[in-house]
């Protein structure tokens, strides 16, 4: 028989003004199973909690109901108090007679009757409460960082500097990401590679960072503190341990005219290559699609000239399993392409800009490569079509961004600033040139940002035209830009030598596939969703997975680096403990009843349900049942409502508890 203690709080006068607390205590005291019932001015105060603890000990109480404010307010307080008096904290429930009763009703009689019923309901519920042990899970203090751009690099360095091992996985042959492609950076115009490459070298030399380049995530299993990640190391055809990075193979490779994607196809590279001279690691990779050896079987020059014998044509993809406790996702962005989109894509291209078929219409990243001292033109601005220096250049902002008719309604955040930077770089290099910018608004929130933008107009003579461009077309060797200037309300036409499009920032292609492997959610554009837009901006709803950089939404470099360090800090917080504790509100499977229809697995938003084989002593399969991994379960209970035989039950919200409440009414 339960010995339930009921404690009715006056909350000063907040409750007792409308609810007759003494009558509540008296009435509830008559309920079967209630051994003790009292009222007190402030239950949450020290003396109030003391009263509670004393009663538990002296009255040998088995369960406790505190009738007071909302459990969202003080449930933790009272459960702690109950625990310190030697009871399991989950044997304590709160009856909300303040927010749900005394504060919302005026009639004292009505409110008192309602309070009695609410407390009675919780008394019936608490009778069915069970002792719930706190769940602890061990923490593997290693972290995985996906993506080797500035976000991934920063997060990896921070975590490794804090003393934890990091596995950094990058899809391309080198780390560096988009930042390595940039020429100079706003708002200080320092050279991107100058500030980036030292960090890349730090990664390569860090004793606690394990770097996998030319590698992808194959498969992720497990949960916070205990992930098992399978990494696919794609066949590089060059043995990294042997290669000294001397570069002879690249010099001797007979295939030389392959457009280099790092240079936005403006420069050429051989079939065995590193994407750029400062690549980390400085180990080449063979592009098997274009290599003569792989295409025809003949050649083999690189292998012959390689001193250390690092070239291996037989190399195959390797799968490596890495146990980690936390994951930082930093997969970055792609740029919107104005080319015609395949049928079925919800995002459209730009027919009015020629669908990418006018050669001197380029995007911002291509301009970065043109302006970069280490780029294909050595930093000289030239037209891709004929190599001439453009004297009239038009920049168009918001291409794809804020363009609902193209399927994207968000602002890409960085374009206003980098276009301003482009006009400056252009003016520094082409003194007699004129830059025009078509823009909707200039969005320059950030330290020294607006000053920078003003400078591009006031000192660097860029002409800003507020309006949109309706069409671009080739006319002789010029590109006619048809646009509007809405400040004066006229149509304008500019015959430009080159047009630079500030195209929208989009998540990486395949971001959705990776999200499905990781079990994290994403929005309709495939940007990854944070757990809370304001208060948990670097965590995913899936515990143990954190976000850094533009994979979560468009970001500039300072924001990306800040978020990366924040994600690293979250990982360190997690790693500060050896074991994780979590509220034991998780689902459990009653294996005797389970028939293995796996409806629970189908509806589980967390992927917490696994299939478990039950075998007899001879090892014969008896049946396959569901198993809920308590480390992964979020505790929503959707499984239980869906289970036809109710063979899975959510602790803390069992059918027994709920039916007891309904039956009490």
């Amino acid at each position: 028989m339960s010995r339930i203690g009921v404690f009715v709080c006056h909350c000063g006068e907040n409750i007792s003004r409308t609810v007759d607390v003494e009558r509540v205590a008296a009435e509830v005291g008559k309920l079967p199973g209630v051994a003790f019932s009292t009222d007190y001015k402030y239950m949450c105060s020290d003396p109030g909690q003391g009263l509670l603890k004393k009663a538990i000990r002296e009255e040998r109480l088995s369960h406790v109901v505190v009738a007071a404010c909302s459990p969202r307010m003080h449930e933790k307080t009272f459960r702690k108090a109950v625990e310190s008096a030697g009871l399991n904290p989950f044997l304590c429930e709160m009856a909300n007679i303040r927010e749900h009763c005394s504060w919302v009703h005026e009639d004292r009689d009505e409110a008192t009757v309602k309070a009695i019923e609410i407390v009675g309901m919780m008394v019936e519920r608490v009778k069915k409460n069970r002792v719930l042990p706190t769940i602890t899970v061990p923490v593997t203090k290693r972290s995985l960082v996906i993506g080797g751009g500035i976000a991934g690099i920063q997060a990896a360095l921070d975590i490794a500097d804090a003393g934890h091992e990091v596995v950094l996985v990058e899809r391309e042959p080198s780390i560096g990401g988009h930042m390595a492609q940039l020429s100079e950076t706003f708002p200080t115009l320092d050279c991107s590679q100058c500030i980036m490459t030292p960090k890349m070298v730090d990664v390569a030399n860090h004793p606690r960072i394990k770097l996998y380049t030319y590698a992808e995530i194959e498969h992720v299993e497990g949960y916070i503190g205990n992930f098992q990640v399978t990494v696919r190391r794609k066949a590089r055809s060059v043995i990294e341990e042997k290669c000294t990075g001397c570069g002879v193979c690249m010099e001797k490779c007979p295939v030389r005219k392959i457009p280099n994607t790092f240079d936005r196809d403006l420069g050429m590279r051989p079939a065995i290559y590193v994407p750029f001279p400062q690549a980390v690691p400085n180990t080449p990779v063979i592009d098997r699609e274009n290599c003569t050896k792989f295409k025809t079987g003949k050649c083999g020059v690189c292998q012959k000239v390689c001193g250390p014998g690092a070239v291996d044509y037989e190399q195959e993809d390797r799968l490596i399993v890495e146990p980690v406790g936390a994951i930082v996702v930093a997969t970055g962005f792609d740029l919107y392409s104005i080319e015609e989109k395949p049928k079925g894509s919800s995002i459209k291209g730009y027919g009015e800009f020629g669908h990418g078929r006018i050669p001197d219409v380029i995007d911002g990243m291509t301009f970065e490569r043109l302006a970069s001292a280490s780029g294909p033109t050595g930093g000289k601005i030239m037209r891709p079509s004929d190599g001439r220096e453009p004297k009239q250049i038009v920049f168009i902002q918001c291409v794809g961004s804020r363009a609902r008719e193209k399927g994207i309604s968000y602002c890409s955040k960085i374009c206003c600033m980098y276009t301003a930077k482009h006009t400056m770089l252009y003016h520094h290099k082409v003194h007699d040139g004129q830059a025009y910018v078509f823009f909707m608004d200039a969005r320059t929130p950030g330290k020294s940002y607006d000053e920078f933008w003003r400078r591009s107009i006031e000192e660097e003579e860029a002409v800003y035209i507020r309006g949109m461009v309706s069409r671009l077309y080739q006319k002789g060797d010029k590109i006619v830009v048809m646009g509007s200037d809405i400040s004066v309300g006229v149509q304008v036409e500019i015959e430009a030598d080159m047009v630079v499009l500030a195209t929208a920032v989009q998540p990486r292609k395949g971001a959705d596939t990776l999200a499905q492997k990781l079990g994290i959610s994403y929005d309709k554009y495939h940007f990854y969703s944070e757990a809370h837009a304001k208060l948990r901006p670097v965590e995913c709803a899936t515990a143990g997975i954190y976000l850094a950089g533009a994979c979560q939404g468009p970001k500039d470099i300072p924001d990306t680096v800040s978020q990366a360090s924040a994600a690293a800090a979250k990982v360190m917080t997690l790693f500060a403990r050896d074991q994780l504790e979590r509220e034991p509100i998780v689902a459990r499977v009653r294996e005797t009843g389970c028939v293995g229809c796996f409806y629970c697995k189908k509806v589980c938003p967390y992927g917490a349900v696994e299939e478990k084989e039950i075998r007899d002593r001879q090892g014969n399969l008896v049946k396959v049942v569901a198993y809920v991994n308590p480390g992964v379960c979020g505790g929503c209970g959707t499984c239980q409502a869906t289970c036809p035989s109710k063979s899975v039950e959510l602790d803390g919200y069992t059918d027994e508890q709920i039916v007891a409440m309904i039956e009490s009414l």
Binding site: T592, F598, K602, V603, V624, T642, K646, D655, A660
Partner: protein, 307 residues
């Protein structure tokens, strides 16, 4: 006007089933075949499990072969030899149940050998087995049948496809009649129907989808559904059952056939099927689906009923 329905192919079908059963049993590719055999009363049929090739001659197919044999692969499967594949004779309607069971991890396609039966219809449960199949004696479910030739079976006899005249859809008509009533009239209708229930649970026993080892309605901690055959308990039982079958039941109507009190149980199931078709364009039993309509969602689902 009563129309005679041509069942002449059943003779050829019977021979074909026998031949195929003999072949697969003697080859050893299956360990047992679940099918129909003649029963004691003239013209009647009953389910049978044969394990010997020599017993193949027992198998028949006729308009009296009403049972949905799928049920023998779930609850009763413990009695059927476990090693190896099992052959089973399936009509189009039975196949839909098997397909549903595969989607719910209860059966594996590779463990079954499906002998599909071209079916012109079977007799209603109220008709004596030796009666000719006509538009008057045909089972209600066959009136709305769209799967006379089961698809995707391992073996289907090559016979002229059965031609059944278009008949009035009784369930659809009855649902429309009930829908036109006021809530109070509907309540009165179902109250009378459920009052009859004696809680024999034959509906549950015969249903391929009631495969739970312990039914929710038999649990007493907590007692979610009253077990006594009082109207309150009966009402709850039938509502819970209809809800559990929603999106899964493909309409074999076995529950209705075995009900000793003649409660129109399939009507509830057909109503739910109709609603899920309208809401989510879902029809049970046509393909093996990983998720049924109530185990998935679309962010754009209708929510006009939610304030």
């Amino acid at each position: 006007m009563t129309q005679l329905i041509d069942t002449s192919i059943y003779t050829a079908v019977t021979e074909a089933i026998q031949g195929e059963a003999r072949r697969i049993l003697s080859e050893g590719s299956v360990s047992a075949v679940v099918g129909y055999a003649a029963a004691r009363r003239k013209g009647s049929a009953q389910p049978v499990v044969i394990t010997q090739a020599d017993d193949s001659g027992k198998l028949i197919f006729s308009a009296a072969c009403v049972n949905n044999l799928a049920v023998y692969l779930t609850k009763a499967k413990k009695d059927i030899p476990k090693n190896g594949k099992i052959g089973i004779v399936v009509k189009g309607c039975d196949l839909k149940a098997l397909v549903g069971l595969m989607g719910e991890s209860q059966l594996k396609r590779e463990e079954l050998y499906l002998i599909g039966v071209p079916c012109a219809g079977v007799l209603a449960s109220t008709i004596l087995p030796d009666t000719a199949l006509t538009s008057g004696t045909i089972a209600s479910k066959c009136r709305e049948c769209g799967e006379r030739l089961p698809q995707g079976c391992d073996y289907t006899p090559t016979v002229t496809p059965p031609i059944t005249p278009v008949l009035e859809k009784k369930y659809a008509a009855e649902i429309a009649r009930l829908e036109a009533m006021t809530p109070a009239e509907r309540w009165a209708y179902w109250k009378e129907q459920f009052k009859k229930c004696i809680k024999c649970y034959a509906c549950r026993q015969v249903c391929p989808f009631c495969f739970c080892e312990q039914c929710l309605c038999d649990r007493n901690k907590p007692q979610m559904v009253e077990t006594t055959p009082r109207p309150a308990g009966n009402f709850a039982w039938h509502i819970v059952r209809a809800m559990h079958l929603a999106g899964r039941c493909a309409g074999c109507a076995e529950c209705e056939r075995v009900c000793p009190m003649d409660i129109p149980l399939n009507l509830l199931n057909r109503k739910m099927a109709k609603e899920l078709k309208e809401l989510y364009n879902h029809e049970a039993g046509f393909e093996v689906r990983e998720k049924g309509p109530l185990a998935m969602y679309d962010e754009k689902d209708d929510q006009s009923f939610i304030k």
